[in-house]
Symmetry: C2
Subunit: 290 residues, 2 copies
């Protein structure tokens, strides 16, 4: 499907992308652009790349497709460097968890030099690094693409085809809607997970036995808090307006619950939990993690 694919940042997502491309024979050559020499060896061992380099322009030279699988905070700098040497008509996409800022910046940076199409594979794990990469990471997952009015249809179509070949489902939407909805379905759950861990940490310092009282709800509800702090810092910064808005709504909802508890309003309390229970049940039963 592609001659040469360059993956910038060979961690969990970039590495899994490389393994999947090679396993499914979707590219003749996969080249990894990494920051640290050691990652090249790790990526080789996982069969995620054919070649690797710590020199971005050397790695990307001649590539028909470039995937930026680096933290959102590095996208601009990488794109600026890449724009000077990327092959004409190449497709450049990314795997960042926020889209509006990235798409605006990168579209402007690449201009007519290459076709930038924002992307977000909704796969991942609280595990990080190429050593946790696997070729089936994207199977049965949603992979969002956020083309703009200027994006050539062929570039979007080629990416859709590739995503399908990886076993994922492509979903086209605009970048702003993506950021609005992902704040709710992904970013806020991460924030509450971290806040629950802080609460536990304080209680645990006072009572060591707290550790033995961890319930399933805490275990599952805080799982994602084990993820990369840098990534979540970047997401909060890149999606600040939407995360801020959702956080305000969540705090307001918790304040209303606080008042019901204060006034011991059993009827309102039941309604508060009932409305959540009904909506959650519609989203299907998922057995718990442990």
């Amino acid at each position: 499907m592609f001659d040469t694919v360059c993956i910038v940042g060979v961690g969990l997502i970039g590495g899994s992308f490389g393994i999947a491309l090679k396993e499914r024979k979707l590219a003749k050559k996969v080249v990894g652009a990494v920051r640290r020499e050691a990652t090249i060896n790790a990526a080789f061992q996982c069969k995620a790349i054919d070649n690797g380099s710590t020199n971005l322009l050397r790695a990307a030279r001649g590539a028909d497709l470039v995937l930026l699988a680096s933290p959102v905070g590095q996208m601009r700098e990488l794109s600026e460097e890449l724009a000077s040497g990327v092959k004409a008509e190449a497709i450049v996409t990314d795997a960042g968890s926020t889209k509006d800022g990235v798409v605006k910046e990168c579209t402007a940076i690449f201009g007519q030099k290459a076709h930038f199409v924002g992307g977000h594979p909704m796969a991942g794990s609280e595990l990080t690094g190429v050593e946790n990469a696997r070729g089936n990471l994207f199977e049965n997952s949603i992979w969002i693409l956020t083309p703009t009015a200027e994006t050539p249809d062929e570039a979007t179509e080629k990416l859709q085809e590739l995503i399908g070949a990886l076993g994922a489902t492509p979903l086209i939407m605009d970048a702003a809607t993506h950021d609005n909805l992902l704040a709710v379905t992904s970013h806020l759950p991460h924030i509450t997970a971290a806040a629950l861990v802080h609460l536990f940490s304080d209680a645990h310092k006072e009572h060591e036995v707290a550790q033995r009282l961890i319930a399933g709800g805490w275990r599952d509800g805080t799982r994602v808090a084990a993820g990369s702090p840098e990534m979540w810092r970047d997401i909060c910064l890149a999606n600040a307006p939407e995360v801020g808005k959702s956080l305000d709504k969540l705090i307001e909802d918790l304040h209303s619950l606080r008042a019901m508890i204060e006034t011991k309003d059993g009827e309102k309390l039941q309604e508060w939990f009932q409305s959540a229970s009904e909506v959650r049940r519609k989203q299907g039963y998922f057995p718990r993690g442990q």
Copy 2:
């Protein structure tokens, strides 16, 4: 171990207790006290009871052990009725998720008529009802007991022995510490789960596609929100002071995060997520639910 055991409220917990007692031959006879006639048949089919009655006193007559496995909000009323007919020297325990109020009330109600020992089996599920009961529900779980200074040692010891025979680990602690810590490890995770579902529900009404953007963090973090609204209403009411205190701390922490996002303070944001990530990783890796 016991001649006759009476289970008041044969739902998920009461039913599983009955199945486990019978499978492990820990009681000669298990009698269920239920509110609705239909539950008796369902409990028979699950092999959770030998006899059942909608008459509490008839069901509890002659029992050496009574387990109150009803919602926390009904404990007082049931105990008042039970106290008039329970066998002298019988052990009465409960399976409520909050302890301080229940222990104070029930200890006073039973007085010298029977030995009340508060309990909390930390097992369960967002699934409810005797039809989801299973004999191994308590295996490898913690079962808290909250005896007071007046509780005879023999009553506590007999319950510890029984809990061990069910495959669970008994853990003795005082009722107030239990409520303080469970607010953090169980009640608040439930509250954030429900609040995340509310947030999603609003977004989903505006954008139906939100449903396809559910990430693993949302799925796991909201799992417990599918649970019983009545039970969680009762928990918030019964543990109002501790839930309120923890909720205030959580809201304060979210406010501080809100300020970091507003001021785009990358360093503080990273620290906020880092401290959570470190503590969470120490609690072990648990693969996600789906």
